[in-house]
């Protein structure tokens, strides 16, 4: 197990006001760590708060409560302009929709070089162009593409441009917010292979947010499952798929359609019934096996342990 923590999320909360003194608790007391060089997958259905978590980590939202530590430094603390710049360089984001996340009026060269300009990473025009061309090649595009505009590219190619832009400032952590959901199946595999290759070459760390569980399983080392703003289970991806403990995780896993007719014919779906939970006390995040955490009450903890045969 890698030991160096690159990111620590501690009791993170993000509430949105919904009028008339009502609050939407999009993220409610979520804690997890990300280690250097790993891929941490965050899965959940729409409304589970997985994207809000990602956006709060990179400071697109201010946290309501709790803290996010990046290399031990609080992300949400008051910062000078220079400190903010330094932080932004280390953490980058890839968005879901490759067409709306690229400025249609800018050339690919300017889109990718924007980060280089902001951080003064290149000295002159020639160096700027060279860097962009290197980046384009790294993500599998040609240098001739630099002078074109986003609309001249297909969805998969646009996502590659988004990846090149994120890579430009040489970040350590990249938050990938559903980077493949908008792409076709054959293109998804291309982008996932590219992300894996870049990780190997550059030692990147990914926070991979998605709802496609089979892809998340494929790319992630560890996975956190979110449901209604809570992290309900967190484990190594193998462990999570082999021994899911929380009833919600079980139902989510049983709902994944697999491209295997035989399996689909025999499949039994598990439905999640929130009323089976023990309500005698507030559930807490507990470690049921080494590195396998589940949100439960003490009574449920004993029951889950028995189910796991421990």
């Amino acid at each position: 197990m890698k030991t160096e923590k690159i990111l620590e999320v501690k009791h993170l909360k993000k509430y949105f006001p919904a009028g008339r003194n009502r609050l939407i608790k999009a993220v409610d007391d979520v804690s997890f760590d990300i280690y250097k060089g790993e891929t941490f997958g965050l899965v959940g259905e729409s409304g589970s708060g997985k994207s809000t978590t990602g956006q709060t980590i990179i400071r697109l939202y201010d946290a309501t409560d709790g803290e996010v530590l990046f290399h031990g430094e609080n992300v949400h603390a008051k910062k000078s302009r220079a400190e903010k710049l330094k932080f932004n360089r280390k953490m980058q984001m890839i968005f879901q929709d490759p067409s709306s996340s690229l400025n249609p009026r800018m050339t690919v060269l300017d889109i990718i070089a924007e980060g280089l300009d902001v951080h003064h990473l290149v000295k002159n025009e020639k160096e700027r162009k060279e860097r962009v061309e290197q980046l384009l090649e790294a993500v599998g595009l040609n240098k001739e593409h630099a002078t074109r505009f986003p609309h001249e590219f297909s969805g998969g190619q646009r996502q590659r441009i988004g990846i090149a832009r994120a890579l430009a400032v040489e970040p350590e952590l990249i938050i990938c917010d559903e980077p493949i959901s908008a792409l076709d199946v054959s293109i998804q595999a291309q982008v996932v292979n590219l992300l894996k290759k870049l990780q190997k070459e550059r030692g990147l760390t990914y926070l991979f947010i998605a709802h496609d569980l089979s892809m998340v399983k494929y790319i992630s080392d560890r996975i956190g499952v979110m449901h209604l703003g809570h992290m309900v289970e967190l484990a190594d991806s193998e462990e999570l798929y082999k021994n899911p403990v929380h009833p919600y995780t079980k139902s989510l896993l049983s709902a994944i359609p697999l491209p295997d007719p035989e399996y689909e014919r025999g499949r039994t779906r598990i439905t999640y019934d929130p009323s089976i939970h023990d309500t005698s006390e507030e559930p807490k995040f507990r470690e049921i096996r080494p590195h396998h955490w589940v949100r439960c009450t003490s009574k449920e903890f004993e029951q889950y342990k028995k189910e796991l045969g421990e």
């Binding site: 259905e45 007719p261 779906r269």
Partner: protein, 349 residues
């Protein structure tokens, strides 16, 4: 099993400012009574254009049926006027769309939206129709249908809305239900519920379903037969077991290989290089050849015909010609399919 629908050499083009886009280029298939035929393909493969043509919903004047026949109970739908199609649409053939929110009218109570078809096609009066609407909502698994019937679409969740859309589509007991990506906008757990509902309904009503999707997992779940489309053509068609366990077309290999399995494996995903062709200028010969690592010389010159693999299984690739070199599917894809068969046994226990 008797044939309910026969599509013969359908060709559909769109006239655009840039020229003629050949969206569907000679599609033929049959639909039997009571079966589910899945049409899979990437965006731009022509699967949705095929389905809107069946419904007579091609945008006019841009969309043109260049040739072909759609025989439904012996009558050619291509020749029908808009007025005649209105009698068939919703009554004999109905459709469920991808996004349930935009296919419902936000300003109408859902009861009234279900009733519309019943009054028009079945000549019911309002009271009868309303009773039937409540029955239908109950059938698609909406709790408290007598209250829900008087509510508006925004009061329903995404999954419930899709149930309403299915209830509307089923209102007149159609013979064919065309479902165009009906679960793509839904979460996986809700998707599983909707798929179960559709299968249940099919068992009860014996409706034939054409299921359009890009998700092979969903296909494996719902389909009896599968047609794989690429660049406006069907490249492989067969029973679900034929196509998933014994695929013959390199494109199908690529699709199956590019999906990760749940078994641990760190190897790279098999990918299809490149991007789908531009249908403004479809390539000469086999449209898939530029992305096909197994392409033969003939692929650049001539389009492959449909070769017969078995009575139920056909594929359009020159690799099946008797003079073609023996080429088997890539090792990684073969292992993957064997892996599927294994998990399949597990699921069946």
């Amino acid at each position: 099993m008797s044939k309910l629908l026969e599509v013969k050499d359908l060709r559909v083009s769109f006239n655009t400012y840039n020229g003629e886009v050949q969206a569907v280029r000679g599609v033929s298939f049959d639909l039997n009574e009571g079966e589910t035929l899945a049409i899979v393909g990437e965006s731009g493969s022509g699967k949705s254009v095929t389905s809107s043509t069946l419904m007579g919903l091609l945008p006019k004047p841009a969309g043109v049926i260049k040739s072909g026949q759609i025989l439904f109970q012996g009558e050619d739908l291509v020749k029908k006027s808009e007025k005649e199609m209105q009698k068939i649409r919703g009554k004999e053939i109905s459709m469920v769309f991808q996004d349930p929110l935009s296919s419902l009218n936000p300003t109408m109570k859902i009861g009234n939206q279900i009733i519309e078809g019943l009054i028009k096609h079945q000549g019911m009066n309002r009271a009868e129709a309303k009773k039937k609407a409540i029955e239908l909502l109950d059938q698609v698994g909406i709790p408290h249908p007598e209250i829900r019937v008087n509510q508006y679409p925004h009061q329903f969740s995404g999954g419930m809305r899709q149930r309403v859309v299915i209830a509307i589509a089923l209102a007149c007991n159609p013979k064919i239900l065309i479902a165009d990506e009906p679960t793509t906008a839904l979460d996986v757990t809700i998707q599983a519920q909707i798929l179960e509902l559709m299968k249940e309904i099919q068992r009860d009503t014996k409706t034939s379903i054409i299921f359009i999707t890009h998700d092979l997992g969903v296909v494996a779940n719902v389909a009896d037969r599968v047609a794989v489309m690429y660049a406006g053509k069907i490249v492989e068609i067969g029973t679900v077991d034929d196509v998933f366990y014994n695929p013959k077309h390199p494109y199908t290999w690529g699709l199956l290989g590019s999906m990760p399995t749940l078994d641990a494996e760190d190897e790279e995903l098999y990918t299809i290089p490149g991007t789908p062709p531009d249908m403004l200028n479809p390539p000469k010969g086999d449209a898939f050849a530029p992305r096909n690592e197994f392409a033969l010389e003939i692929d650049a010159v001539m389009e492959p015909p449909m070769f017969k693999v078995s009575d139920t299984h056909y594929a359009a690739t020159w690799l099946l010609h008797k003079n073609a070199p023996k080429i088997e599917m890539p090792e990684s894809v073969r292992r993957r399919i064997e892996g599927f068969a294994k998990t399949g046994k597990k699921g069946g226990e």
